[in-house]
Amino acid sequence: MLDMKSKVKVIIQAIILAGITVFLFFVLKQMVWTIVAGTLCLLFIVTGFFIPKAFKRIEAFQKFLAKIINLLLTWILLTPFYYICFTLGRLIILLANKDPMERRMPPEKTSYWETYEGNTNPDQFTRQF
């Protein structure tokens, strides 16, 4: 048996799906999608109240799907951003003849140790940078 909290969740999800079904049928007049939404609504009610094991499976699948969609959306947004922003940034760095990764190994250099840049003043400890 599902606990009370889960039952409330089932009811809310079923109401939302029922709303969508009504909207699809009466407003958009989309018969196929109405059947899909209606079936899902029914599935939620039946599994939620009578086959809790199956409902938990559906819930896990929902979560997995949400994660994938979230990841894909992030990637879809981030990919063009990366190519535009970071490639442009790289060009600027190259034009300025700078290399933040200090790849060069000048033969005349006798040491790569640098003077420590961080500081240990008390106010610095309240900052995240």
Binding site: L71, Y82, R90, Y112, E117, G118
Partner: protein, 607 residues
Amino acid sequence: MTILGISALYHDSAAALIKDGEVIAAAQEERFTRKKHDPDFPVNAIKYCIEEGKIGKKDLDAVVFYDKPIKKFARILTTYFSVAPKGLRSALMAIPVWMKVKLWVPLIIEDTLEKLDIELQGEPYFAEHHQAHAASAFFPSPFEKAAILTIDGVGEWATSTIGKGNGNRIEIMRELKFPHSLGLLYSAFTYFTGFRVNSGEYKLMGLAPYGEPRYTELIRDKLIDLKEDGSFRLNLKYFGYLDGLTMTNRRFNKLFDGPPRRPESEITQREMDLARSIQDITEEIVLRMAKHAARITGEKKLCLAGGVALNCVANGKLHESGVFDDIWIQPASGDAGGALGAAMMLHYHIQGNSRKPDGIHDKMKGSYLGPGFSDSGLKEFIDRSAYPAKKITGTDWAGTIAGLIDKGKVIGLFNGRMEFGPRALGSRSIIGDPRSPKMQSIMNLKIKFRESFRPFAPSCLEEDVEDYFDFKGISPYMLLIANVKKDRIKNTDPNIPLREKINQVRSDIPAVTHVDYTARLQTVSNESNPEYHSIIKAFKELTGYGIIINTSFNIRGEPIVCTPADAYNCFMATEMDYLVLGPYLLDKKEQPDRLNKDKWKIDQILD
């Protein structure tokens, strides 16, 4: 003043609690969640510290995080700026995690403390990563003044630093910056030889003595420009960690005769030679850095921390070199120790509280800083499941355990508070007879389920160490190697295959003598762990040997056990003969369901 230090969100998350400078508790999150090297925010470790310190709602004065998240994120973005349009895949993995979690550390701290019903007084503090390492190395050390060397993969930008400590202050003087990192170089070879980065480094070190240094010159020529003072730059053309998801790239493969070894496939001579070569280079760099640190600080003592300071072979060579009169290494040298360092940095350096080291004893309490269980708690655990157990008290306790070791039995020892840091030091250990020629393969294959080439470490009476090893001083945290004394060594044929080499009887303590006649040594004193000391002493009284095998109480891929339930499960899942739970002795033969292998199976994650 009560301070909580936290290290998290990279690997080996941990929490540490100090009260007026005294270390009250410290533990890694992995021990509670049973997820090795758990990088998640250490909610359970914090909860443990709060409970151990009996911290009330308004008792926590400060929280310090072990690095500066925004500075670290800036370094990651700078890296992408310097490799784009390459690096997309890495960015797609990293940036969302930073946006969703890693940039919100103050909120996560607040949320965690709220759930534990703790009201933090003021805002959290943020130490720099290498400051935290340096503080973890110097402040708990026995030294009033010392040079400090920190070497790891990377923090914000620094990958190695040299500094000095004096009283309650530390000053960091020099740094090497990302991407030029000894830790990452070692990890690149760890990856290439088929082991897991951030956990397999120990295996690479263990494999090194089986190989020849035939790649050393190639590494010097192509991969690294090493200067006399230990500073270096890496030739990034050969590495993948800037713009890819792997540590090395195709050029690296070409240089080292083919692609990386597939994990779990057979280890060939190439991997052994690579291990030896990179180990030799690492030792040389560490030694040069230490010499430079001695030069610029003028100090006679050295404190070490950072992941590379867990390389006990390099540490041993440094100890032997005599560059410094004395060395102290933080037992939790990896990022877990950053939690303690960050808390100590605030207490001493920032708040200026006085520090009075005695020159002999450190402040780590033997590193026994984790959860402990009372005798009544252990009894309750045993009674709950009606496990057959015998209570042994007084001197019988050590004598009985020593007698079982002498009979060739393998014993899980669960006694006292859990160790902080990656080494088991007699509280959560599996112990056995070092004189047995078969013990190394028995323990590796039947108890630990790990690669047979991996050596075991000895726990030796501190007062007897010179009888077994060419070693002067102490090594309480198993962070130094030492040569087994010449008169104990038996000559062996060096030209035989690896599998046979493992089973050679190399000395009269073969189970703890590695192929190069060294051992990763733990010296045990009556002061730091009297009960463990008493077991070894009783073993000496029985056999004449004041030395036993000590390996961590876990199986491969599993974190060291934390609770009696973890210990019992590990005991039942392996072919261990006896389990010691404080004063209780459990005999495998008497345990119910001992033949039900499925019941006790531990999911093995390959490490």
